[in-house]
Amino acid sequence: MSVEGTAGDAGAATTLDTAWAVRWMRDTAQVVSENRALLIDLDRAIGDADHGENLDRGFGAVLSKLDDGTPETPAAVLKLVAMTLMSTVGGAAGPLYGTAFLRAATSLGDATAVEPSGVAGMIAAARDGIVARGKAEVGDKTMVDAWTPAAEAAQTAALAGATAPEVLAAAANAAHAGAVATEPLIARKGRASYLGERSAGHQDPGAVSTALILQAAAEAAGGEVA
């Protein structure tokens, strides 16, 4: 696909171009579909059992949109995803992921390839959008508990000189660890908060889907995810 003149990174790191963004979203649709039952079960335990179904519907709609034509930049891909999720998901994940992808798109501007620092900035922007929309903090047992360590790990990796795929992999691994760490927490936001102490003992479905989405981003870039 597009080969830019600014050959920055040494080595054979995958360029995070529009084709990567499209692969990311197609892989996300697939992994969400494969984990639909898992997400539904997690959400049934502490919520309203609709997270897997809603996300599967949303990313299914994203696939149809991408089949209709490929946007021109990574940001345009993410914006298309944001608008589609907002209209089709229905549950809290719609406005939350809609905001996340919209802010991520804005952070990328019209770049045709995303640099390591751009990856870190994109994930931080997504996290900030989710926090602004959902008013949740770290420890509330929400997707913020996956996005925040992901943003921090991406920032650390980018500053240490990692390639863009390595930055994504660091974010994905941190998101996964963050999702696992939601298990003992008592929910303070979202539908699960009505359960009080009974919400402990299950991973938060939004944190788990966040880890899946970031894992897809890393794998679409050829990054090694633990």
């Binding site: 309203d48 609709d50 229905g90 809290a92 719609g94 406005p95 939350l96």
Partner: protein
């Protein structure tokens, strides 16, 4: 023309039901239900960006602005997103109420029916139920369920708290319809900005819903107790409003 309302709920039935309920008391107000999400024939539980967006557009037809009321979490987030996508001009004429859906919608509809401004309608919605803590709903429940009357208010007067000057008084409702929706809204709106704790027959005088729940008809006694800097002003306002029969026939 009047302020329009959009009712956003996860459930299409809830949104339609709230519109139906509120419309009974506000026949001239544009009330739009924006409930549920696409799927299952439009009856899927969830909230829809597109429906909320279309609802706001429809409700803004009156030209006096729109107040949006929501139920649980993602309904709020969806509504916030829609607001962010509005052009600045359109955005300035929309308010998102932080209110209990049913009580807020009824109070807002009554206020809008009376021709109030968008911010007065918003205040009515948000003042309808201050909190959903059960102990604070107690007067609402007990007065609505039991036969209402001024005796209850009299017996609890000694226990009331509040700083500053106190004032109290009683009047008999002269108008045929009594303290129904419109006068309740007028009283609550008039008392809203006063710096005083005001009870009417034991319930919060600034709450349209609680005033209506008293169910006071013609000939019943309205007993007001107020404390705080504006206590006397509150008393004067209620007295004048009741004595005039709220401008209605007796």
């Amino acid at each position: 023309m009047s302020v329009g309302l959009v009712i956003v709920s996860h459930s299409r039935k809830i949104a339609e039901g709230v519109v139906e309920l509120a419309a009974q008391m506000a026949p001239d107000v544009v009330l739009v239900a924006a409930g549920g999400a696409d799927g299952d024939g439009g009856a899927r539980i969830g909230t829809s960006f597109d429906r909320v967006q279309a609802g706001i557009e429809e409700a803004s037809g009156g030209g006096d602005g729109v107040v949006v009321l929501t139920d649980l979490g993602s309904a709020v987030m969806t509504a916030e997103m829609v607001l962010e996508f509005l052009e600045p001009d359109a955005r300035s004429a929309v308010r998102l109420a932080q209110a209990a859906l049913v009580e807020g919608a009824v109070a807002a509809a009554v206020q809008a029916q009376g021709g109030s401004s968008i911010d007065e309608v918003l205040r009515a919605a948000e003042g309808a139920v201050v909190s959903i803590r059960p102990e604070e709903l107690e007067p609402f429940v007990s007065h609505a369920a039991a036969a209402p009357g001024s005796e209850a208010a009299g017996s609890r007067g000694a226990a009331s708290s509040g700083d500053g000057p106190r004032a109290g008084g009683s009047w008999t409702l002269p108008n045929e319809m009594g303290l129904h929706a419109r006068p309740a809204a007028a009283l609550a709106a008039g008392l809203a900005d006063l710096d005083a704790e005001i009870t009417v027959n034991g319930v919060d005088g600034k709450s349209v819903m609680l005033l209506m729940s008293l169910g006071l008809g013609q000939g019943r006694t309205v007993t007001v107790e107020a404390s705080g800097p504006d206590a006397q002003a509150a008393l004067d306002f209620v007295g004048q409003a009741v004595e005039s029969g709220f401008g209605e026939p007796s």
